[in-house]
């Protein structure tokens, strides 16, 4: 049996005596798009931060393309890597945040080329070429010189996606990428994510956009109180939920739309 492209096994994470992740396991095939839904505070963001070790889990393990995140190989198999090495592993995993987190004192171009130059050792020219390509892909060519504050929220989030892609990640994590946007700007970001999915990017997407989950995700996972309580094809989980918590959550979402 081939091992999955991404596997998170039995992740636990506590903050004080609060359990944010209570034994979460999840696997993803290459090119799969998994949508994570669930109530506020259920641990969705914590799961993403544990997967790229921004926040190391208390126990459990994460593997991406066979590499165990946070740990070395061979003789160093059982030892937590120094932060410096973890950062290198993390560079393979792109992350997009709810509030974009662009660097406000950098131009769009600087935002994109900073990490490829610092981490991948690309020359400025190489990084710039790659950045222009990506800006073109997210529909923002010509805005290289703008500062984030000069862009709309939708544009900023597209820059943030391009910034993550500039590292040529193997996995992309999205944490409610459209939740901070005005409704009329959600579509442009979703469109970029869709085209990324069509190109075969492996994506784990925390979202409240049920249309995206229904149409683009290959699987939906429903989170409740630090656990995945239900997972399956979008049609199944969204239209015919089995777990009472999923049913209640979806009803609430439907009512509020």
């Amino acid at each position: 049996m081939p091992s999955p492209f991404v596997s998170a096994s039995n992740l636990r994470k506590t903050y004080g005596d609060f359990t944010a992740l209570d034994g979460v396991s999840l696997t993803m095939d290459r090119g799969e798009v998994v949508a994570v839904i669930g109530a506020s505070g259920s641990g969705k963001s914590t799961l993403l931060r544990c997967i790229n070790y921004l926040d190391p889990p208390d126990s459990g393990e994460v593997r991406v393309d066979g590499v165990r995140i946070g740990f070395g190989e061979g003789a160093r198999r059982d030892r937590v890597l120094p932060e410096r090495d973890i950062r290198r592993q993390r560079a393979e995993i792109g992350m997009v945040f709810q509030h974009f987190n662009l660097f406000p004192h950098f131009t769009v171009l600087q935002n994109l080329i900073e990490a490829p130059m610092a981490v991948r050792g690309l020359s400025r020219a190489e990084a710039t070429e790659r950045a222009r390509d990506l800006l073109n892909r997210v529909g923002l060519s010509g805005r290289e010189g703008a500062f984030p504050a000069e862009l709309s929220g939708g544009q900023q989030q597209r820059v943030a996606i391009a910034r993550a892609l500039c590292m040529k990640p193997r996995l992309m994590l999205f944490d409610e990428p459209t939740s901070a946007l005005d409704p009329e700007l959600v579509g442009e970001v979703i469109a970029v994510m869709r085209s990324l999915a069509e190109e075969g990017m492996t994506m784990l997407v925390v979202t409240h956009e049920m249309d995206f989950a229904a149409q683009t995700a290959s699987r939906v996972a429903f989170f409740d109180a630090g656990k995945i309580v239900e997972t399956g094809a979008p049609a199944q989980v969204l239209r015919n939920p089995q777990h009472p918590r999923t049913q209640a959550f979806l009803q609430r979402i439907l009512r509020s739309h």
Binding site: R90, I93, M95, F97, H99, F103, E114, A115, V119, F147
Partner: protein, 221 residues
């Protein structure tokens, strides 16, 4: 009362020498207390609670005692503990310590003003910690930290007069040495005050430019 400035040309070189020491002392403290303040700021925000508490307590102590007392401690107290300093280095040490804690508070609140998402985004991209600090975090503290930083720098200039108490030959001390022999304190003090005002003016100009620049940055350009 008549003012007679005729002796000034004669004592001018001595005043200039004093002004030179004042400038030296100001710059030395500024140059040393700036990294000192950064160090204090990082320790104030360290992940270890005991370290944060320790530095907070030190900061409270050092900002609470009169700088003159610190100066006496550096000059008269340290020799008893085996470290004898000349007046100028003693003054630099005392003022640097004092100012490092002031700057530390300014820099710490500057660092706190940078949203945590910035460091998170840099970490998610794999950017090394030191580079994140130098290129992502610190530049974003400048708009908030620059104006109070410069206004404290003018405090350093005025504070250097205290060093006269341990016989540092700075401007105030030079003025005093002159008028005790010329018996014309008013004229010499007026000239010394004018020199201070001039030096302060340079710092005020810097402050003005700094504020204008940081307002522009805050406005998102």
């Amino acid at each position: 009362m008549t003012l007679d400035f005729s002796t000034i040309p004669e004592v001018w070189p001595a005043l200039m020498k004093g002004a030179g020491v004042t400038i030296q002392l100001t710059l030395a403290v500024l140059i040393l207390a700036t990294p000192g303040g950064l160090l204090v700021a990082f320790l104030r925000l360290a992940p270890q609670p005991w370290l944060r508490a320790l530095v907070l307590a030190l900061s409270w102590v050092f900002r609470g005692i009169p700088p003159l007392l610190l100066l006496f401690f550096a000059f008269f107290g340290l020799p008893i503990m085996g470290l004898t300093l000349q007046p100028l280095p003693a003054a630099i040490l005392a003022m640097t310590t004092y100012m490092s804690f002031y700057f530390g508070e300014i820099f710490a609140s500057g660092l706190r003003s940078v949203p945590p998402g910035q460091a998170q985004a840099a970490a998610a991209l794999g950017i090394p910690a030191h580079r994140t600090l130098m290129r992502i975090i610190l530049p974003q503290t400048i708009p908030a930290a620059l104006p109070p930083y410069i206004s404290h720098a003018t405090e350093i200039l005025k504070g250097t007069a205290l060093a006269a108490a341990v016989a540092v030959p700075e401007l105030s001390n030079a003025a005093k040495k002159i008028f005790v022999v010329t018996y014309r304190p008013l004229e010499v003090l007026i000239v010394a005050a004018a020199i201070y005002a001039l030096l302060d003016g340079v710092l005020l100009l810097l402050q003005m430019f700094g504020e204008r620049w940081s307002n522009r940055r805050r406005a998102g350009r």
